[in-house]
Each structure stands twice: as C-alpha cells, then as structure tokens.
C-alpha cells in the first residue's frame, strides 16, 4: 500500500492510536535527502505496509508537530508503537540500511 499523509488533524487517529507500528517520515519539499528517501519509503510501504504503516508529515505545514517531537534535522523517521516513539532514524539511508533499522517491525 502507498504511504499516507498525516496532518495535525489526523495525527492522533492515524499514528498514536494505530494498532500496528507506524513510521512517520518528517520531510519538506526543499530537503534533497528527504526527496531521495521518499521513493525508498514508498517501496517499503508497498512491500511491508501491513506490518508497518508509513506516513509522511510535511514539517513546513505541520511545524508544531515537528517541534513537539523535537525534530532538529530532516529527514527524521520516527517509529511509533502504542503512541510512543520507540525508534528515531535521522538522515537519509539506502534501502538495505532502512530495512535493517526496521527489521524488528517487519520480520
């Protein structure tokens, strides 16, 4: 399945209340590495979407959520389980490296 967009309006429902782990990709249009990692996340979402939900949060549009989670550098990919951040991946990674980081949630 493709990635979804999250905003302040649906963050609680889509991310915090999710029964499966959720990866939130904090990104922005002007961020090169964010755009580079985008297609990789789409692929992972298509391949492992039932195990981990991948959603995108635009930090330009949703600045307060980004600030709430102390985002200091993008891309930052936070994994939420039960509403809490259990893992934080800062910086773009190649697909094999990302799959390794997410192995606990997709195996």
């Amino acid at each position: 399945m493709a990635t979804e967009k999250v905003t302040a309006a649906n963050f609680a429902d889509v991310v915090l209340k999710s029964s499966t782990p959720v990866l939130v990709d904090f990104w922005a249009e002007w961020c090169g590495p964010c755009r580079a990692v985008g297609p990789i996340l789409e692929e992972i979402s298509n391949e492992h979407g039932e195990k981990i939900k991948i959603v995108k949060l635009n930090t330009d549009e949703e600045g307060s959520i980004a600030m709430k989670y102390g985002i200091n550098s993008i891309p930052t990919m936070n994994v939420f389980v039960g509403g809490e951040v259990v893992k934080s991946i800062v910086g773009a990674r190649p697909k094999p490296a990302l799959l390794k980081e997410l192995s606990d949630y997709i195996s």
Partner: protein, 313 residues
C-alpha cells in the same frame, strides 16, 4: 531503465556530482553506453546541499545547486547514459574485467571504471559531536538550518563553506558565531567580507571546540583558546561543522593508490590511476581546488581517458 547484468559493459561511472555527470555526458556521446551509479540517497553529490551556486561559469545570475545537478543529469540521459539510483558497495578493480556490486545485490562487470565518489564532511572528531548529530549538531546548513529559528548557534570553520553556512543560517538564527582556530579566515575575500558585514554574525578567532555539551540535544560548547590554552564554555543550541571534506575512497583504498589523506592518486595531469582501466576525478582526487567546475572538467578528462583506453584495448 534496466541494466543488463549479463554483459560486460564498456564503462561504469561511480558517483554523480559534476564530475560523474560530466564524465557520463562525454562517455555517452562517445557511444560507450556508460552505466552511472548515482547513489541511492546521495545522487547529485555535494551541490544538492547548497543553495545558490554563483561561481559556476555560464550562469550570469547563478543557479541553485540542485537545479544545476538536475540539468547535468538530464543532459547525461539525453545522450544515452544509463543512470542507476543505487550505491556501489563493493568493487574489484584489478584485472581486465572490473567487477562491482551494488546495494541491491546485483553484480555489474565492466572493462573500465571512472571513480567519482567525491568527498564527505569532515567531523571535528568529538564523541559528543557524533552522539548529538541530528540533535543540534549538523554538517549541512541548508538541510537543517530551518530548525534553528531564533536560536544562538555556532559554525566551526574558516573557509568558504563556513562563511556560506554562517550567512545562510542568519536567515533563521538570531545569532551565528563563527568559531575558527586561527587568527585569520582562509575564505575568499568576497565571502569573508559578506560574513563580516552581516550584523547577525560574530567571530571567535583562535578558538577551537573541545566538547559538545547536552543530554539529548546541544546546550553548550566547551571551547579552548588556541593561543593561550584557556578553556571556556558558551551556550549554543546548534553546532554546524564546516571544516572541510575528506575523500570518499573507503571502497577503493588498498586497490588504487591513495595519499595519506585518502585522496586517490592519478598520473600527472591525467585521470589514470595505478590500475589499468580505472580513472578517478572530482573531489575524490582534488584536494587543491575542489570546485564544481574543476570537478566537471576532470570528469570530462576521465571520460576521454577511458575512451582512449577502451579504443586501444
């Protein structure tokens, strides 16, 4: 675009900055059908992390780094270069047929290789610098500056990159302090003047950063005066390291000759390495000039050297 992994290609280019793409344009026009490994997340090279490029000739009003790289990329595609948005993770460069393995596990074979992997940011080398990376420590102002609105931040370095980063960061920060270990900046005059004229930029000369303080984000820097040895501490919520670059030669060290800093060595003014059929260009080789235009020039040379080699063999 699918690459044929069964055949032995004429030329594989590893890297996609100005050096890699220029090599791709020339090699494609020479009908070598080059396969270019752009990098899965680093395609476009160092200029992807800069804003205006004002000194690349041909652009009267300057051009944004990512736009310049996009145009080079399209130019390479136009002449038939095959671009692969993946990384090379292993290379075996000796012998007549070079063997390279990519991030997806494919093996590609080629008669010649152009190495154009460029350089990576130099780190100060402090444990806490690494620990707090992404949490207040950054090596890329254009990437992360956005998140330091109204904060007091430090930029370490004295060259053009440091001046550019400092100037750019004043768009967001309330104050930027440039920390340089020497008395004088080594930046170009125009960049140094621009920084000095910026009311939001202050300078701390003869100073080095000896530690980065903070639990889960940067709160202060420990400093030392390089002349008197006196230590002090100053509050900052961001540290941008702009002290230069190191060549990304880890994959080929031990195969091609490299100097003590890791720069790949080439013969005279050519791009020939010590291995037959292997050519190197761009910031992987150049520790003197390191400009987009010099990288592009050397990429052209590498393609021409590779073409002559292939024709002769």
């Amino acid at each position: 675009m699918s690459v044929d992994y069964n055949k032995i290609h004429e030329l594989v280019i590893v890297g996609s900055g100005p050096a890699g793409y220029t090599a791709a344009v020339y090699a494609a026009r020479a009908q070598l059908e080059p396969v270019v490994y752009e990098g899965s997340v680093t395609a476009g090279g160092a200029l992807m992390n800069t804003t205006e490029v004002e000194n690349f000739p041909g652009f009267e009003h300057g051009i944004m780094g990512p736009d310049l790289m996009d145009q080079m990329r399209k130019q390479a595609l136009r002449f038939g270069a095959q671009l692969v948005t993946d990384d090379i993770t292993e290379m075996k460069l000796d012998g007549e047929t070079k063997v390279l393995i990519d991030g997806s596990g494919n093996t590609i074979k080629s008669r010649a290789v152009v190495l154009a992997m460029g350089s990576a940011y130099k780190e100060i080398g402090l444990i806490n610098e690494k620990r707090l990376s992404g949490r207040g420590v950054s090596w890329c102002a254009t990437c992360d500056g956005f998140f330091f609105r109204d904060q007091v931040i430090a930029v370490v370095g004295g060259g053009d990159s440091a001046m550019e980063e400092a100037n750019f960061l004043t768009k967001f920060a309330s104050k930027v302090v440039v920390i340089h270990r020497r008395e004088e900046l080594r930046a170009s005059k125009i960049m140094a003047e621009r920084a000095k004229a910026n009311p939001k930029i202050e300078f701390l000369f003869n100073t080095e950063v000896i530690d980065v303080l903070g639990e889960d984000k940067v709160t202060a820097l420990k400093l030392r005066n390089t002349v008197t040895g006196e230590e002090s501490q100053k509050d900052f919520t961001g540290l941008f390291v702009a002290i230069g670059h190191l060549p990304r030669s880890e994959l080929v060290k031990g195969q091609v000759a490299t100097n003590s800093e890791g720069y790949v060595e080439v013969e005279g003014r050519s791009t020939r390495t010590n291995l037959k059929g292997v050519f190197a260009c761009g910031d992987l080789v150049d520790f003197t000039y390191r400009q987009a235009i010099t990288a592009a020039g050397s990429g052209c040379q590498a393609a021409l050297d590779a073409e002559r080699f292939l024709v002769g063999h």
